[in-house]
Symmetry: C2
Subunit: 600 residues, 2 copies
Amino acid sequence: MAERFLSKRNLRFTLFEALNIQEITQYERFATHNRKMFDLVLDEALRMGKDLIWPACEEMDAIPPHLENGKVRVHPVVARFMAESGEGGWIGAPFPEEHGGQELPITLAMACQFIFSAANYSAAVFPELSTGAAHLILSFGSPELAETYLPPMMAGKWQGTMALTEPDAGSSLSDITTEAVDSGQGYYRIRGRKIFISAGDHDAVENVVHLMLAKIPGGPPGVKGISLFVVPKLRPEGGKLVENDLICTQVYHKMGYRGTPLTELAIGDHDNCRGFLVGEPHRGLVHMFQMMNEARLGVGMGATGIASAAYCQALEYTRSRTQSRKMGNRDPLSPPVPIIEHADIRRMLLFQRSVVEGALSLILQCCRYSDLVSVTQGEEKERYHLLLEILTPVAKTFPSEMGVLATSAAIQCLGGYGYCDDFPVERYFRDMRIHPIHEGTTGIQGMDLLGRKVVMQEGKALSLFAETLAADAKKAEEFPETCQSGERLVLAMKRVEEVILHLVGVAGEKGAEAYLADAALFLEMFGQVAVAWQWLISGMAAARGLAVAKSKADRNFYQGKLLTMRYFFAYELPKIEGLATRLTDGEALTVDMETAWFED
Amino acid sequence: MAERFLSKRNLRFTLFEALNIQEITQYERFATHNRKMFDLVLDEALRMGKDLIWPACEEMDAIPPHLENGKVRVHPVVARFMAESGEGGWIGAPFPEEHGGQELPITLAMACQFIFSAANYSAAVFPELSTGAAHLILSFGSPELAETYLPPMMAGKWQGTMALTEPDAGSSLSDITTEAVDSGQGYYRIRGRKIFISAGDHDAVENVVHLMLAKIPGGPPGVKGISLFVVPKLRPEGGKLVENDLICTQVYHKMGYRGTPLTELAIGDHDNCRGFLVGEPHRGLVHMFQMMNEARLGVGMGATGIASAAYCQALEYTRSRTQSRKMGNRDPLSPPVPIIEHADIRRMLLFQRSVVEGALSLILQCCRYSDLVSVTQGEEKERYHLLLEILTPVAKTFPSEMGVLATSAAIQCLGGYGYCDDFPVERYFRDMRIHPIHEGTTGIQGMDLLGRKVVMQEGKALSLFAETLAADAKKAEEFPETCQSGERLVLAMKRVEEVILHLVGVAGEKGAEAYLADAALFLEMFGQVAVAWQWLISGMAAARGLAVAKSKADRNFYQGKLLTMRYFFAYELPKIEGLATRLTDGEALTVDMETAWFED
């Protein structure tokens, strides 16, 4: 492992051996690419990750962004990273060529995002946010908006953000109160307050462009009255940039993820903030969902990157730290062994590896579907679209929730040292904890999965998912190393379907509230099955690789892959048993109880 | 909930309604106590917790102890708390009267420790460490040692510590290298290095007394050659205190638990450090286990206190924060409800409550056994002793491991605010993470349970535990509210016994390494069952209480108790299914694998 934050070998394995992403170049849109170019892209991202942002990790945590004379100061590496991201074409890489992009498959772009996140998550989000915001303008904005805003955003000179959350409307977007009044002169007057806006203001760029949700007075109530606007910090006017009455009033003090300023914004306090409608009025949330879905995969990838870095540190430490003897050796004078020789440490390492590599594979699989949606038609396109839809909440949540446990296991591998800042694992644990919260909490993702995705088109996404798993399990019969895991996967998916059947009954009997009460647990169960599926795919690729492996190093890698697959099926997947019991036991405690019972 | 860090009502319920600890006053040793006095003790501890140490929580985290001109500066509240603890007789409270103690039952002393830990964990450990160290001197030290050291330690003027860990011997005490050479003049010359020593040096006391493990040259190798010493920072000589060549060389920077200095000590660098043997030579580890067992219960209680404080904050927040509407209400103009009305939030609150109150009950149950050991004889004494032995690793680990998840759930209840330091929950999450590490990691506790306690005296402790559960399940049949849970508990315990039977087979076939490979998972399973048992006991007490409850408040409390019991049996206990599957599937992945498979 040349890099100390990820396994290059594993990233290539997942992309090119397990998911065969190079096959996408057979489609015309991606025909200018090839495997070799993909490798070059990954190498360049690795270089930037390793040489540019990784060295700043610790300092960005120790000296977080702060407000100074009304300006948000961030670590100087952010300016360099934004500039290099712009110059290297990273921000607009997945965009069409006619918009200055490189038609880079999302899968590859996200693999690079994995690299940046593993190297330095706080730094990685700056260009990532710009990509998402620019993509939204590109998809729904007018040609004028695109012309004005895209070039500087893609050049890394202007920061993009997504400005959704408000003080009294966290997860509940229908309650936002930021107002947008049509001036009749081509812009809206915006007035309101936003909180928790990542990179909402900072001095590493010339300007900040908020993709902001607001309500046009007179529109329908609730989410159907939300519109989307471009609201810049400085607005271009007569060839200059002028203040747009949008100021940062607070930078939050966070437990982790400290290199990125999380900001509070006051908008239009002097009635001089102009916003520009993106897409149709009252369709803001529908438009925003494009960015939110991308951002959710991005959050999953960020969590995976952090967990990867923590795992690498744990691996490095447990290989070199010696302590105790192998069980059964009763000679206290014999030398101690590296602690990686102890079963309990190995279990914790395999847990981390199974989470990191399983999550990486799941998110890249989602990206693969996203790329395929862009180049296929009809039923095939629909299939990929539905699989992407049902897997997005899972790809956001599994890495986020399991990442908290994985980074915790990394701390445990280092013992007392892991709790101190002599090693970075405690920082990874702190950085990780934001992920089950931002871009839709785990509770929200659970409701999205069970309340929307599972039932959409009469369960079509779910059926496609089950079919896909069954087909892969069928293929797994070919390899002695994977056939048993394939059988277990089929049984696990059957269990998911039984749970859904039961819950549908609950919905009919007791209504939506009881149906969705434990949606977060259903999501947990679904996530285990989805990642088991990815492990099966990786296992098959490893079995193929092992059969033709020539070097000892190759054999070790494939053996390790197969072992980690077995670990996941033996240690993690059985957790669905308890979840299924819970989800089908018929008790609706949290719905039936009285709030007063929390009193004492 | 008058206090913002614990439920007084629940503490009293657990002590006096569920565990009936007042019955202990029927024994002569405790005959001078009564229920009313116990209440006064708790009230006084609450006052100190609330008025003295709770207000310093935030500052102790923000400005951690630091080395300044060779001195470790701690927050001024520590000096006040040590002084009050000394003056009020708290440090020696559980000691016999002839040694200046108050014969306070350990159960009550630990209930007070819960209060202090919930109020301010970092502050709470200072007097607690002194109690443990003083108890060791009292139990095994010479009358001279006791006379010299006990009075100032019990008065809160001298700090006690346990000094075990060394740079190359974390969990592996057999490898310590600190040397103790008999001077032939009534003392030993100590030389070595200790790390991670809590409260190992600070300016809130006049002196620090280390209960230190070291090896006398020529003794047997390994743990059998370890002896125990009193090694003071300043040694009393000719009526004065003189430097004892023991200095603090580092204060560690920790993620949490930041108010207590974790120190590195250099001992005898100038060959002028004197230590005084406690008990017999080479019996140090056996002696130290007394302190370690107490400390392990203390760690469990510390974790429970922190989880309690986090839960109180989550409860307070979710009651007042309004967002979204009840499911099924499709009118976006209706006012939002407090988020405690949402099922997902309630589930997270019930999870926290089930962990906090279940863990509290389990630890107090252990303390009750400890008190009963001190007043009973023969078979009865042996029974309590064995139950205490088998439950100690569980009482340390369940609160520590589940506490990490519980404080994480508290953060989740607060959403983005939970991740920021505007609220204390992020601090509780950081404070909590030390507990699965210190006083024996979870891995060590697992091996203690499965490798030692389960098999001791041919499984006698285990049989007694199973009998105790069966007897309580039998009693639970009397109440309609608890009879089903009782049945489930019996089945769960049966599952534990099946797992052990399987593992014993593994031990015979594959040896100790395979038997113990997943000991941490066995401990997790055992912990769920042990806490389910405590919930059953609480459930029965609540059923009795509900039957005679006169006020609405009482009915709410008992209903809440019964609901939380149901929560634990419905949501938590089923987790043992996956664990049992894992533990009996016959795979010994972590033992059979090659370390090289971690390469890539």
